[in-house]
């Protein structure tokens, strides 16, 4: 529901990262200018931020349940990081009090230019306190799971020279009255504007009292991956699991790198379960793809338990909990005995009808 988003979502370009009202922002993404030659990095990050913002939504449409996912905020700075590293990206996000940071660089590689983007969690506490931490409850006990990673690395965007030239020429981005690639319209004022909606390769921009269309040159297929995954993660943290499931699934079935596709598949499965459906089959598929991921094992166990607790039949519930227990036994050696998650799981299972056998072992 893009048309109402500006009411609840702010999008601003900051030359300095101060004096921003965060009072109503639940999830805040910082996009510093990407490192790169001339204006290339800045232009690439500008368009990525614009697209991510136009994909945010405050509630589903239709909205029979009256859901409100709060507000989201995408801010970007024209200043590049002192160095294009995770360390500097996190420092910039902490300083600006942002939860997430999308950062990266554009650099020459052979005859072309490669753009490498990353999405990092800057404020774990804030993200956890929102929807970033999956928590299931039973008789006063919590079992929690955070995100699979703190830093997500996207597939490289390979820019042929024709696209690179196009981006370098964008010193003045024209604001057009209709969807045109170029026009004689006034230049986009990069200090302050609002992206209203995106349609295809064009974004409708409001600048002062004027509105106009801006053409967003196609970067590569990986652009969609960056935009979809960032949007999905913001939706996930805001508790908009319908949106996060859809966007993560798009990344999972794309031609992206295996690692980011895998993370997306796992988060799509978790989103399904958190939405009230059963994401277990998606998580089982993820475990088949990568049977070495302890995180997927944890997610699958939690999904099994969540689904079990929804069952009204005692027999069905016991079966689902026994499945989770069997899976856990197989991977038990990958956990330390004193890990909080293990303690919570054991207690959770005991409250769910299992019994303690020896030491920390639980049988259902």
């Amino acid at each position: 529901m893009r048309s109402i988003m500006p009411l609840l979502t702010t999008f601003s370009l900051l030359t300095t990262l101060v004096a921003v009202d965060l009072a109503h922002a639940d999830v805040r993404l910082l996009v510093p200018a990407f490192d790169g030659p001339s204006s290339l990095g800045e232009n690439v990050s500008t368009f990525l931020a614009m697209q991510i913002w136009t994909g945010l939504r405050s509630h589903p449409t239709p909205n029979p349940l009256g859901l409100d996912f709060g507000s989201g905020e995408v801010d970007w700075s024209r200043d590049a990081l002192a160095e294009p590293t995770e360390e500097y990206a996190l420092a910039a996000a902490h300083s600006a009090k942002r939860d997430l940071v999308l950062w990266g660089s554009a650099f020459r590689f052979g005859s072309g230019v490669v753009v490498q983007a990353y999405l990092s969690v800057a404020d774990e506490t804030s993200i956890s306190n929102s929807g970033g931490k999956w928590s299931i409850k039973n008789e006063g006990l919590d079992l929690d799971l955070f995100l699979p990673d703190r830093n997500f690395s996207f597939s490289p965007m390979i820019l042929p020279d024709t696209v690179t030239r196009k981006y370098l020429e964008l010193e003045k981005i024209p604001l057009c009255t209709s969807k045109e690639k170029s026009c004689e319209g006034p230049p986009l004022n990069r200090i302050s504007f609002k992206a209203l909606v995106q349609e295809g390769d064009y974004a409708l921009i409001q600048q002062n009292n004027a509105k106009g269309w801006v053409y967003i040159p196609n970067l590569s297929e990986a652009r969609g991956e960056v935009v979809n995954f960032s949007n999905a993660l913001i939706a996930y943290v805001r508790g908009d699991f319908q949106q996060s499931e859809r966007r993560f699934s798009q990344v999972a079935s794309s031609a992206a790198d295996s690692q980011i596709r895998f993370d997306a598949l796992v988060l799509a499965g978790i989103s399904q379960t958190r939405l009230g459906n059963d994401g277990t089959s998606v998580l089982r598929k993820a475990l088949e793809i990568n049977p070495y991921s302890r995180y997927v094992v944890q997610a699958l166990i939690m999904s099994d338990l969540t689904v079990a607790l929804r069952r009204s039949s005692h027999y069905e519930r016991a079966e689902a909990i026994a499945d989770a227990a069997r899976l856990f036994r197989s991977y038990r050696h990958l956990f330390d005995a004193n890990e909080v998650w293990i303690d919570s799981l054991s207690n959770f299972m005991l409250r769910s009808g299992c019994s303690r056998t020896s030491g920390p072992q639980v049988s259902c």
């Binding site: 490192d35 790169g36 030659p37 002192a82 160095e83 294009p84 590293t85 995770e86 660089s105 650099f107 020459r108 590689f109 052979g110 005859s111 072309g112 230019v113 490669v114 490498q116 990353y118 990673d149 703190r150 830093n151 690395s153 597939s155 490289p156 390979i158 820019l159 042929p160 790198d257 295996s258 690692q259 895998f262 990568n290 049977p291 070495y292 991921s293 302890r294 094992v297 197989s330 991977y331 038990r332 050696h333 990958l334 956990f335 330390d336």
Partner: protein, 218 residues
């Protein structure tokens, strides 16, 4: 550190300036790159791009899989490659690997730059038969991903073996499994030529995953 005007040159400057480093924290791991002087400007540009790719991507790689702060420190040394050059450099620090990188190119064509790499893994060879690997990478845009992932796999594998060496019987192997399972995922994105060059390493990764029972016990 002052902001570098030409980003491409910064890692090189950092590495060269690191010859007189102060005492390193215990959890630094070193990667040595020894390279003869490139024969042309194009070859030098290709080598610089290759080093930038290696350093940029490996920096955050270990932070993502380590449960405590750990950094990869890169040292670039311009010099000839003798028989024991790689071993000598590898032994000077707590190293992941030392790589002899030879840049060759045709001056007319930027896409023809090729980095021929000999790698020494020392006692971090793990399940490899020999502590040596050899592979080549063309510096061309469409080969970027495969080249990046090959070096990521090498970094993750050696780090995992380093952690495995510290394990005692009955210890939880998860810390060593984590980089290994990521390396296993990266493997899927390699192009056929790179995968063929790294075949012994890829086999060693699968062997390590099985030996540590990273995929669970029956």
């Amino acid at each position: 550190m002052r902001r570098c005007v030409y980003r491409l040159l910064c890692p090189i400057l950092l590495i060269f300036s690191a010859g007189h480093v102060t005492a390193d924290p215990a959890d630094n791991r070193y990667v040595f790159i020894i390279s003869p002087k490139p024969p042309s400007d194009i070859a030098k540009q290709g080598l610089d791009a290759w080093v930038l790719m290696l350093s940029n991507n490996s920096r955050s790689l270990l932070q993502d899989v380590a449960n405590r702060p750990v950094s990869v420190v890169f040292r670039l040394h311009e010099g000839l490659l003798e028989n024991d050059t790689l071993e000598s450099w590898w032994k000077t620090q707590r190293s992941l690997f030392a790589v002899g990188a030879v840049a060759v190119s045709n001056n007319e064509d930027k896409d023809s730059t090729y980095i021929d790499s000999d790698v020494f893994l020392g006692d971090l060879k793990g399940d490899l038969e020999r502590p040596y690997l050899h592979f080549g990478q063309a510096i061309r845009p469409n080969g970027y991903q495969s080249s990046r992932d090959a070096l990521a796999i090498l970094t993750l594998y050696t780090y995992s073996v380093d952690l495995t060496k510290g394990l005692k019987a009955g210890d939880n192997p998860h810390a060593a499994c984590l980089p290994l399972q990521k390396a296993n995922l990266y493997e899927r994105d390699l192009d056929a030529a790179t995968a063929a060059g790294l075949k012994p390493l890829l086999t060693a990764i699968r062997s390590g995953l099985d030996r540590l029972a990273c995929g669970g016990k029956p």
